[in-house]
Every structure is written in C-alpha cells, then in structure tokens.
Symmetry: C2
Subunit: 125 residues, 2 copies
Amino acid sequence: MPDNPTATKYTWDAMPVEQVTDQLSRRLITGDKMMLAHVYLKKGTIVPLHQHHNEQITYILEGALRFWIGSEDAEPIVVGVGEVLHIPGNVWHKAEAIEDTLDVDIFSPPRQDWLDKSDDYLRLK
Amino acid sequence: MPDNPTATKYTWDAMPVEQVTDQLSRRLITGDKMMLAHVYLKKGTIVPLHQHHNEQITYILEGALRFWIGSEDAEPIVVGVGEVLHIPGNVWHKAEAIEDTLDVDIFSPPRQDWLDKSDDYLRLK
C-alpha cells in the first residue's frame, strides 16, 4: 500500500496563488516524485540564469517564453503555445516572458526550494 | 554533467500520434524521471481498472473523465477542464471519457509499458 492510498482532486481556479514577485505568481500541486505548477509570468518577466538538480518539463498553455540554455550567450529558443521544453537536471537556463504567459512546469523530484521559499534567484532583482 | 546536457523542444502538433485503439490515441514526451503525455479519448472510452507503480498526475485540458479509485464500486470522481487528479503509485483506477477529451498525463517514472507497448489493459476489449 502506498502512504496515501487515495487520489486527490485539485481545481486550479480554487487554489491559492503565491505572488512571488510583482511579475510572477504560481500555484503548486506537489506529489511524491513530482510537482506540477501553474506559473503566471507578466510580459517582460526575466527568470535569471539558474540551475537545479530537478528535471524540468515546461509546457506553454498561453503566451510564450524565450529560453537561453547553458549560458546567457546561447542562441535563444522560443517556446510558444502547444510547445514543450525538456530541460534535464543540472542544466543552466534563463527565461524571458515575451507575452503574458501561463507556463505549466513539471519537476521531478518536487522543487524543495519552491516549497520552502528559498528560491532567491526568482525573488531578488 | 547530465547524460544529455541540452534542452529539447517539442511541438505537439508536429509529433506522431500513436493510435492505441479506435477510441484512444496519444503522444509521448519521455524524460529521464518523468513522462508527459497527450492522451486523446473519444467520448465513451473506458480505461479498465488497472494499477502501476508509476505516480500519475492527470490534467484535463478539454472534455472530462469520470474516475473510480480503488475499485469499480467506488464513488466516481469527475475531473473536468482546469482540474487535476493526483493518483499515487500502485493505486487501482478506472476511467471513462464523458466527452471527447484531451488529457495531459504525467508519470514518474516514465511508463515503460507505454514505451514497449505491453499495456494490454488498454488494448484488449
């Protein structure tokens, strides 16, 4: 038997929104081995170059993000509606919201730094 | 350094569709620790009671699924657009498409039975 033998239903619109900065907010669904997030970025938001051991899948539902992978000098990759970016663990990446964006981020394992709010790279400007 | 130090971009519409049955088809994006799937179910599709060790997150983008968790006698749970169902590993579940549905399924680890097509529970009627 798993620790939690039951399924849990979530409704995004009914979940509290964490306002991380003026420009970026999010909702989190945290499982055992993975985390599903709604990340809301206003046009112009910069997510500074950072990395984490967590594997990341970014699925864009609204808007578009421009990514730089490996370094800030890399050729940018634009990920728009209906597109997905897979970022292996430990890979450096930076992002910019080209439009107001709803980004579905999936991580494995869950982002402990998002849960305990030690994600300073997002909070400092 | 990870095995694959680069990010990979996917466009759902450009990806091949695997037609699993007349009623169910899918597209898969497979990472290291997780898999992201688009599952397309026609109204009336039944996914028979089954379980797997993989943790599952089901996010409905179009349509709706009715789930039975634990057994076929359980009280059904309807998951519609903008809703998410978290199913821990090893939990039995059955589903029925109440409408034509686009279901985003996320698994950790990736579903090896989906990759090697040994997922007979989906294929046998």
